[in-house]
Each structure stands twice: as structure tokens, then as C-alpha cells.
Amino acid sequence: MAWFKLGLAGSDSPPVQRENTRGLKRRTREALAAYALLAPAVLGLVTFVVFPMIYAFWVSLHRWNALSLQMPWVGLQNYVSSFQDTDWLQALERTFLYTVIFVPSLFVMSLILALIVKSVPHLSGVFRTMFFLPVVMSPAISGIIWTLVYSDRNGLINRYLEKFGIDPVHWLSSTHVALVSVVIVSVWLGMGYFMIIFLAGLQDIPKQYYEAAKIDGASSWQSFWFITLPNLRHTNIFVLIVSIIGSFQVFDQIMLMTGGGPANSTTLVVLYIFQQSFEQYNFGYAAALSFILFMIILVFTLLQVKFLRIDEE
């Protein structure tokens, strides 16, 4: 359409040449408009994401306590020290443990909810709505609510256990149980989101597959195992990797339920970095820890990019 308009415009110079210059100008104008439209996003991301990343690395090469004015260069010393910091190693170990419990539980739970919503004869919309509700809840406020739910004496759960004659569980005050209690809340917060992702994946599996399996006499368990799961491959990878990445960054609900306790049993990496930076003011050291966390997350991000690309090919 553009050539048509250009041909009609103006009349003071030969048409061929004019079309050429107008064409060039149009491209310049398009580029200028594009840069103008992109400028806020690019400048903002550079200032508040990319530059902080570089800055974080630079800070991590210094011994810097925010309470002192001196900031000596220490090279990779902070990274070396992290390997001797037993609290940090313990936080890493606890985070791995958290991930190992959280990711499979979340996966199974979300898939079960999706299958229920998909297969229940009526009211699937109502069930979906109820399962989805925690997604909009603030993790911080959920932490406060669940603190009451988990409370030793009057908490919701222990009250019900009492009715069945079961001894109260020290959900948040026992070093053995607290991490599991925290995982339960994280699963509660995340399962609605992944349920929707699974529902979208389930929708894409052709009905004929199930019908064919039925004719061959497959049980519903068999058709789940041999049709549903393999056909959800793409979705499975997405759910697993996104939830792994998320589990390394959990903070809000833990901070408000246990604050990392009892006896550091729920001090996960971000909580430890937060304590090092904004309670101890060891900015240099905490920045080095952040960078180690980044490397761990980066591995999983790259895995995701790789898997999803292979899937697309």
C-alpha cells in the first residue's frame, strides 16, 4: 500500500527520484519511532537490572561493611570465604532439601488438581475457582495466616488433630517439621498457577488418542501413564524448571512464618543473603553470595531455554 500513497504525494520533482528519497526517509522515520518507543524500557532495564548486575559483581570483589567507609579490594576472597561459611553451606543444603521436597509435591499436586477439574462431571468451574484462589494471595500475608493455622495450641490443624485424638504437631517450632510446613504453604500458593498450565497442556492432547486406547482395552491408569504424561512433555519441563527456579528464591512466606528458625532450620539462601546484607550490612560478602545464587539459577534457566527450543524444532 505504501507505494500507492508515495506515488500520489507532491508534484515538484521527478516521481522516481522522489519515491527513493521518501522511501529512505520513511525507513529513518520508522527507526527513529522504534527507538523512541523502546527508549523507556531499554533505559529502565539497563539502569535497574543490567547495571545492578554488573555493580553486584564489582561489590562482591570488595570487603565492604556498609557501616564502615573503607572498601578494600579483596578479589575473589568473598567467594573463597563462602566455602568455609558453615551457615551458608547449611543454607544451600537446606535450599536443596526444600527444592527436593517442594518441586515434586507441587508437580503432583497441580497435576492432580488439573485432572480433577478436567474429569469431574459437573461444577468443574467451581472447583477450578477454589483451587485457583491462593494464586492471588500475597505470600507475605499468607505467611501470617498460616502462622495461625499452624499454631501449636489453638491452630486450625492441631485443633482438628485433637478431635481425632492425635497429639499436636509442632508445625513451626520443631526443627524437623518446620521446613515441611513451609513447603506446604509454598505448594498451596503455587499449585493453582501450575494447575492452569497443566489444564492448557491437557487441552492440547487429541481426544482420539484416548478413544483409541479405550478400544484397545487400556485402563484409565494406563491411558494416563502412556498417553497423558508423555503428551504433556513440554508442559512437564516448563513446570519443573520454573518451580525449581522459584524454589531457590523463596523468601516472603518463610520470613513471616519462621524468620528462618527454629535454629536456622528454615534459613534458605535468599533469607541468608538478606540477613547478611540488610541485618549484618556485609554488602560485599552478601553480593558474592547473590552471585553464587545467580549461577545456580542460570544453569536451570539455560536448561529451560535449551529444552524448550529442542521441543520447538
Binding site: Y55, I112, L133, V136, I196, I245, D252
Partner: protein, 269 residues
């Protein structure tokens, strides 16, 4: 198709236990002190009362925290949407040198989690003089690579005919974006708006790092300090958390379908 009526058993058990903590909390806000902290099995208050709410509103600046949060989350939502839509449109529709490089650059910032940059971000915001201010809360939250990406995907799927018509009518490129493309992108912008609003209404870690004086607090800080101070008065804690989640519950009730559609778009599809 086989009717799986037995599925109602796990469906009801799971759905009720999912929402029960929230319901229990909301109902507790209408109970008196003794009944709230001494759950007898009855969800509904025996003597419903609004006293807890009255006490909270009179004794703490709760409404002020909510106002701060609304200003923060509301302004971030509006500006962030505009920034994302502008960039997404340029990447989807316009031809310019460096397009691919800029797209990859923007997408790769998604790999950087907030927890990794919180220290330098604090130092940068401090150098701008924005510590303990709403500015420090708002400005760094305006830029999201994911929103840009979502807008780009949306514009790429939009038919070009209307924009071509605008071109024939002599609109400039920016004119086409603001008068034609932006109004057409309302569906995606609504979904994105709810996500951005919720994320900021619910945010806790950045406000915790940034804000000191109580007059600047957002609701998550207000309620966490309140619940620590009143940890034994469950009726008050429950009323406070209920107040704090009311806006999210309203958004949930009104826009649940949009949220679900939005999530489906994020699922790597």
C-alpha cells in the same frame, strides 16, 4: 464418556481444604477475642462483630498503608503497561537496525532474579535519594522484560489491516501505535494489568528493604508489624489480614477468567 462421580470426593476434600484457611481467617475477623483464638469447629461467628475492624482503623494507620499501596501498585500498573506496550509494539511491527539484538538483550534480563540484584538496587536507589520514599518503590518496578515479551507476542498475532488503513489515512507511526494498536491491545493489557497490580500489591521484600518510616509503609509491612505486636490477639490479626486481602479478593472475583487466560499465555505456548 465415563461419568467419574467418585471424583467428587477428592474434589470436595481438596477444594474445601484449599480455601478453608482463608475462610477461617476472614470469619475470625468478625469474632470476639475469645472465640477467634479458640476455634471450636464452628466457622461462623456466634456473635458477629465489627469491633476488630473499628479498633484497627482507629488505633493504627491501616487505611493509610492501604492508600500508599494503592498509589504504588496503581501507578506502577499504568506506567509499566504503557512502557511494555510501546516496546512490544516496536519489536513486533517496526523495522530498524539492531532489532534482534535489542530483543535478545531485553529477554536475557529475565534471567536475572530480583534477589540477586537487591543489594546494588538498594545502593542505586539510595544514590538517587529515594530510600524511604514511594519513588524508590515505584520507579524500579516499572520495567519488566516479561511484560514487553508478552506485548510483543500479542502484537505479532494482530492482523495488520487496521494499521495499514491508518497509514493510508496519513497517520504517523506513533499515531498508528497510540490511536490504533494500543486500543486494539486492550484484552492483553487488562490481563497484564491485573498481574502487575497483584504483584506490586503483594510485594514484600523490596518495601522491607527500602522503607523505614511508618508513614511510607505499604500494607504488607503494616500488617506484618501489626501481627507481631498483637500476636496473641488473633481477632485483630485476622481482621487486619482480611482488610489487606480484600482488594486482591475483589480482583479475583471480577477477573478470574482474565487471570486464567493470562496464565495460559505464559505457559511457554
Amino acid at each position: 464418556m465415563k461419568r467419574n462421580y467418585w471424583l467428587y470426593i477428592p474434589a470436595i476434600l481438596l477444594s474445601v481444604s484449599t480455601i478453608f484457611p482463608v475462610l477461617w481467617n476472614i470469619m475470625g475477623g468478625f469474632k470476639n477475642a475469645k472465640e477467634a483464638s479458640n476455634f471450636s469447629g464452628s466457622l461462623f461467628p456466634k456473635h458477629p462483630t465489627l469491633n476488630n475492624y473499628i479498633e484497627i482503623i482507629n488505633s493504627t494507620p491501616f487505611l493509610h498503608y492501604m492508600w500508599n499501596t494503592l498509589v504504588y501498585a496503581g501507578s506502577v500498573t499504568i506506567v509499566a503497561l504503557l512502557i511494555a506496550a510501546m516496546a512490544g509494539y516496536a519489536l513486533a511491527r517496526l523495522d530498524f537496525p539492531g532489532r534482534r539484538a535489542i530483543l535478545i538483550g531485553i529477554l536475557s534480563t529475565m534471567m536475572i532474579p530480583f534477589s540477586v540484584i537487591m543489594i546494588p538496587l538498594f545502593l542505586i536507589v539510595k544514590s538517587f535519594g529515594w530510600v524511604d520514599s514511594l519513588w524508590g518503590l515505584i520507579v524500579p518496578s516499572l520495567f519488566g522484560a516479561f511484560s514487553v515479551f508478552l506485548c510483543r507476542q500479542f502484537f505479532m498475532g494482530l492482523p495488520r489491516e487496521l494499521e495499514d488503513a491508518g497509514k493510508i489515512d496519513g497517520l504517523s507511526i506513533l499515531g498508528i501505535f497510540f490511536r490504533i494498536a494500543l486500543p486494539l491491545s486492550r484484552p492483553i493489557l487488562y490481563a497484564l494489568a491485573i498481574f502487575i497490580f497483584l504483584a506490586n500489591w503483594n510485594s514484600y521484600l523490596w518495601p522491607l528493604i527500602l522503607l523505614q518510616s511508618q508513614k511510607n509503609w505499604v500494607i504488607s509491612l503494616g500488617i506484618s508489624s501489626f501481627s507481631t505486636d498483637h500476636s496473641t490477639q488473633w481477632n485483630l490479626v485476622m481482621a487486619g489480614t482480611t482488610l489487606a486481602i480484600v482488594p486482591t479478593l475483589i480482583l479475583f472475583a471480577l477477573f478470574q477468567r482474565k487471570l486464567v487466560e493470562g496464565i495460559k499465555m505464559t505457559g511457554g505456548k
